[in-house]
């Protein structure tokens, strides 16, 4: 894919509200004429996806994160296939942005921005093929835990976990069972093989199970250091942060977990209050990059020597941007722990 110049990215940002209004108008026009089969029930929600995709484009264009766009489009593919809109749903969103960019923005900027979307469209069939080949459940224990979590039977789930703890350490359990289970639940939901209530039930149960594992396994503190964990602003995926908190507690760290994404100012206030030796940010959706960078700048301004460690899908996709800001990007829970050991001890 071609790169995006600064002038094109800035023009897109300046005109973003106008572009968004035109794209939303196009979506409502398409819904009115419902040329796409099955589109009608989804019309009330399509504007949310359009906005989310627009936020993604803002980030991708500004930071030249072309690979992130290809990665994030998987979420849309899963979403639209799960809603029986398939490729038409994805094309509706991309074409609407494409035509609006072409119609509203001047050249050559509009062509630069469009080229990236056109190439993305060309790659979608191969991305879909790859996605089709992904096996949802491969491990017997993962499959069992998923079943228990969505059944909402907390006592049976705890017994199952306790049994596994006879053969595995708690940190192994988190990395080898809990994380793959979370991924599996995410995939099942994206593939529309889970009802929304089942996903909620699984999330609630998983939080309880993580507390249970931590309760059973936390050693006396080994490291005399404080950590603060938080999701990045507007990132609602706090289950990963909860799992990480359990994992690090099991590894002997003292920590506080702020959970789902607070505004940057609130994260800064928490840093001031608790004075941690490291701030660990969980960053899932790449479209939250701006808020993440704001948080980092705000914290670094007042605490320049504070280690900021950041992980999650978004962090990996925007690794180079975050590293430039002085953050340490980690790929796994284990790498996070290793980084803490080397930085703080």
């Amino acid at each position: 894919m071609p790169g995006i110049s600064q002038s094109a990215s800035e023009l897109f940002r300046e005109e973003y509200e106008n572009l968004l209004a035109l794209v939303l108008r196009r979506i409502s026009t398409e819904c009115e004429h419902h040329k796409i089969e099955n589109i009608k029930p989804h019309c009330p929600f399509l504007s949310d996806y359009v906005r989310e995709f627009g936020r993604l484009l803002l980030i991708v264009f500004k930071y030249n994160l072309k690979e992130a766009l290809k990665d994030e489009i998987r979420w849309y593919i899963n979403l639209f296939y799960s809603k029986n809109l398939g490729l038409n749903g994805i094309n509706l969103i991309i074409d609407s942005w494409l035509m609006t960019i072409q119609g509203w923005l001047k050249s050559p900027e509009c062509n630069e921005l469009s080229a990236l979307l056109i190439e993305l469209k060309d790659e979608i069939p191969s991305i879909i093929e790859k996605l089709k080949k992904i096996e949802v459940i491969t491990d017997k224990n993962v499959s069992e835990l998923v079943k228990l979590l969505i059944s909402g039977e907390s006592d049976r789930t705890k017994s199952f976990i306790k049994e596994i703890l006879n053969t595995k350490t708690a940190d192994e359990l988190i990395t080898n069972l809990i994380i793959p289970t979370l991924e599996t639940i995410g995939l099942l939901w994206e593939k529309n093989e889970l009802e929304i209530f089942e996903e909620h039930l699984a999330t609630m149960n998983m939080k309880e199970i993580l507390q249970y594992i931590t309760f059973l396994s936390v050693p006396k503190k080994i490291h005399d250091k404080n950590l603060l964990i938080s999701c990045v602003p507007n990132d609602e995926h706090d289950l990963i942060a909860t799992a990480l908190a359990s994992y690090l507690q099991i590894k002997g760290w003292m920590l506080k977990n702020l959970g789902r994404g607070l505004p940057p100012e609130q994260i800064l206030k928490a840093v001031k209050r608790f004075n941690p030796q490291a701030l660990i940010l969980v960053f899932t959706m790449i479209s939250r990059l701006e808020g993440t960078l704001d948080t980092i700048s705000l914290v670094k301004r007042e605490f320049p020597s504070l280690s900021i460690i950041i992980g999650g899908r978004g962090a990996i996709l925007a690794g180079s941007v975050l590293a430039e800001k002085g953050c340490i990007v980690v790929n796994s829970f284990n790498e996070c722990n290793e980084t803490l050991l080397s930085k703080l001890n």
Partner: protein, 231 residues
């Protein structure tokens, strides 16, 4: 399938001293059921392109096909006949005749043939005016209509002959926001429900959300052609 096809079309004009190319080699095919927006700055060649599509201008090079029949070199009379049968035109100005009622302004599309207007033609005019929300205005005169209503009458006049192709030159330019959107809604519905080829020349941003296909032209060349892809 019915279509309008431009094959290697180019157009030169003599400006008094030099021969100037105003439209470079262009290949485009239009199909029923799509609303195409042709956009570009003033002097970009979009009106020239529209005039070639509408058989008002002949291309210097290339060929125009209507339903796969080459109509590039037909006589002026043949062109007028084809236009009458297959084309409807909508302009920025509604071009209604004061002194005639709304219904008569629509029926004038038939009256220009010099033949008596048939009942079925009259009925079709009634139906279209009703569909466009002008039932109550049928016996009114253009002077008592709003700008938006006048433009809707001009759409009715273009549609009454049931043409395959609707060519619209800046149809929203003289309308306020609400009426502009109403007109575009009608054109979109016409393209989809009545399976017409609707081509709208415009640089009004309000028309972009209604496009199934957006063609941009600059300095006589197509610089982008974006169309939706649904299965």
């Amino acid at each position: 399938m019915s279509n309008l096809r431009l094959k290697n079309i180019a157009k030169d004009f003599y400006d008094g001293r030099n021969l100037r190319r105003v439209l470079y080699q262009t290949n485009l095919t239009f199909y029923p059921g799509e609303l195409v927006v042709l956009s570009g700055p003033s002097g970009s060649g979009k009106t020239t392109l529209l005039s070639i599509m509408g058989l008002v201008l002949k291309p210097t090079e290339g060929a125009v096909y209507l339903n796969e029949r080459d109509i590039t070199n037909i006589s002026d009379n043949q062109a007028a006949d084809l236009r009458f049968k297959n084309y409807g035109f909508i302009f920025q100005q509604h071009m209604l005749i004061d002194g005639l009622t709304v219904l008569d302004n629509v029926l004038i599309a038939f009256a220009v043939q010099g033949k008596k207007i048939r009942n079925d033609q009259k009925n079709r005019a009634y139906q279209i005016l009703e569909k466009l929300g002008l039932k109550e205005a049928i016996n009114m005169q253009p002077l008592s209509l709003s700008g938006g209503m006048k433009q809707r009458v001009s759409i009715a006049r273009a549609l009454v002959k049931d043409p395959l192709i609707l060519l619209c030159d800046e149809p929203t330019a003289s309308l306020d926001a609400e009426n502009g959107i109403t007109v575009m809604r009608i054109l979109k519905r016409t393209a989809i429900e009545e399976r017409k080829i609707v081509i709208v020349v415009s640089h009004d941003s309000r028309v972009f959300p209604f496009a199934d296909r957006l063609i941009k032209i600059e300095n006589g060349q197509i610089v982008s052609d974006t169309r939706e892809h649904y299965t």
